[in-house]
Amino acid sequence: MPELMQFLLSGVTVGAVYALVALGFTIIYNASDVVNFAQGEFVMLGGMITVFAFDAGLQLPLAALIAIALTAAIGVALNKLAIEPARGAPVVSLIIITIGASIFIRGVTQLVFDKQLHRFPAFTGDEPIRILAATILPQSLWVIAGAVVVFVALWLFFTRTLTGKAVLATSNNRLAAQLVGINTKWVMTLSFALSAAIGALAGVLVTPITLTSYDLGIALALKGFAAAMLGGMGNPKGALVGGLLLGLFEALTAGFISSQYKDAVAFIVILAVLFAMPQGLFGRNTVNRV
């Protein structure tokens, strides 16, 4: 069935986009238990800054690098100016802060840049690649590769490095983390820088496919959030698998059932999964003895 193959390729393409966004959530979440609703804006910034740097005549790789660095800096600023001062606030307050931040970033972007749609050329052309009677754009392969690389890097970071453990310790028990000598402020700074950089990288990779504009962040953040929860928040494996699954559900539903209700079906599947596994597919099962 060539259709099925095409649906799968589409699902993987979209899924990889979601996975990249979801992976961006993991670090900040792991450091602070906060789902950063401004993550979508990092993706948007990655795309927008690259577009404008590229249009200003820079080489694409250089433009992308600048975008990632700038976005990371913005992430750090967000932490220093908004998250760090609110330390100890309840999680809902932190959610509102990140939503506020996302509105703010959107507002500034629209002033600094514009409200138009933009894109820059795909890295390796637009000639579709044929796989078993179906096709995929080369840029999709870049996105998929990006998701896999980020996943592996994060997985190694959290399982193999002491810094990764320090990040986990910080969210698990901030007081105790300080007692063992972890500079929790620095951990937070690092986490925001990394998360923002991953977001920006996602933006750079996906813009040739999805296009970008100042208000692209909300939709991506929502889907990325859903994907991350499906997989289990905080686990890079969950983000990758959750993203890919979500993309596949959508594509298969659009292909076989109804394109109108593809998002609905995707959400129903998420609800069903959470019903059976309240922590998502790979979520950590927190043990809290009483």
């Binding site: 307050s93 802060i97 959470l274 922590q279």
Partner: protein, 320 residues
């Protein structure tokens, strides 16, 4: 008699005074319109106070119930021949029923997992509202019948313009809603909700049926949201699926948290601020989003319990 009772009475008194007195400063009907929107949002936000402030459960899909209330008010008069007022009641009943059915499975989830599940529910509702155009008119919306109460009052000699009528009517609804929420706060049920917010396991060992209590909070808050949606639809005489949208859900939660999710007056205050802000910010429309984002961040950073409770604490040394 006790401290608590006075808190409740003061809250209601303050609210009633605000509703009754501010119109004296209104230079035009536009202000009545904005005021009534504050109250409409306030009603929905009270639901969030009960669900999030009392019981500690996050919902990012509550606008879905507002959508159900709004569309019930729009559709039932046309298809079932109901009077709009009964249509709104039907909407509330329907919302309660749906909340009851949906709440059971999703309230087993905690924190962000609950957030994403409720988000999914909200999206589902708004998707149905915009996809089933044959019934709902699709994304472009649908007209809503007139409530008729204003005319009825007119016949009885109380002549109000539409904005005036809606201002006072919504104000009254808000007062009733606030009264109920305040009653709940210090009642056994309210304490059970706040207890499970603190520790589910301890709540259940003192005999609180935790799933049931959560469900009660969810259903009650759904009815509030539904009522708010109905009021909006009836007042605007026109409704679009935006009422059920994700942004509206977020807005409701933001209003509650900004004002102080645990406090009835605080949350209404939050609804007021967020409803008025866009009207104030029109002077620098370009910067509206920037300012809105900044306000949200600054309030949460410097007044982390929400505007009102934090300010009260500043003045009196204790929370509201």
């Amino acid at each position: 008699m006790t401290m608590r009772l006075t808190t409740k009475q003061t809250t209601l008194l303050v609210l009633a005074l605000i509703i009754a007195a501010t119109p004296f400063f209104f230079p035009s009907a536009f202000y009545f319109r904005v005021g009534s929107l504050v109250f409409v949002n306030g009603v929905a936000v009270l639901g969030i106070v009960i669900l999030t402030g009392f019981a500690g459960q996050i919902s990012l899909g509550h606008a879905g119930f507002a959508g159900i209330g709004a569309y019930a008010s729009a559709l039932a008069p046309v298809h079932l021949g109901l009077h709009p007022a009964f249509a709104a009641l039907l909407g509330a009943a329907l919302s309660a029923l749906i909340a009851y059915v949906v709440g059971r499975p999703i309230l087993r989830l905690k924190g962000y997992y609950l957030a994403v599940a409720s988000l999914g529910f909200g999206i589902l509702v708004s998707m149905v509202l915009s996809n089933e155009a044959w019934l709902t008119g699709g994304p472009d919306g649908i007209a809503v019948a007139d409530l008729g109460l204003r005319q009825a009052l007119g016949h009885m000699g109380l002549k109000l313009s539409a904005p005036e009528f809606w201002y006072f009517f919504c104000g009254l609804c808000l007062l009733v809603g606030a009264w109920l929420a305040l009653n709940l706060h210090d009642s056994p049920t309210g304490r059970a909700l706040r207890a499970l917010h603190g520790s589910e396991i301890a709540a259940s060992t003192v005999g609180v049926d935790v799933p049931r209590a959560k469900l009660q909070a969810f259903v009650i808050s759904a009815v509030y949201a539904s009522a708010s949606g109905s009021l909006l639809a009836l007042q605007n005489k026109f409704i679009t699926p935006d009422v059920a949208g994700y942004m509206h859900s977020i807005e409701l939660v933001t209003m509650a948290v900004l004002g102080g999710a645990g406090s009835v007056l605080g949350a209404i205050f939050g609804a007021g601020i967020l409803t008025l802000l866009p009207q104030v910010l029109t002077v620098f429309a370009e910067y509206e989003q920037v300012v809105l984002g900044l306000v949200m961040m600054l309030v949460m950073i410097f007044l982390r319990e929400g505007l009102l409770p934090s300010l009260m604490r500043q003045f009196t040394g204790r929370g509201a």
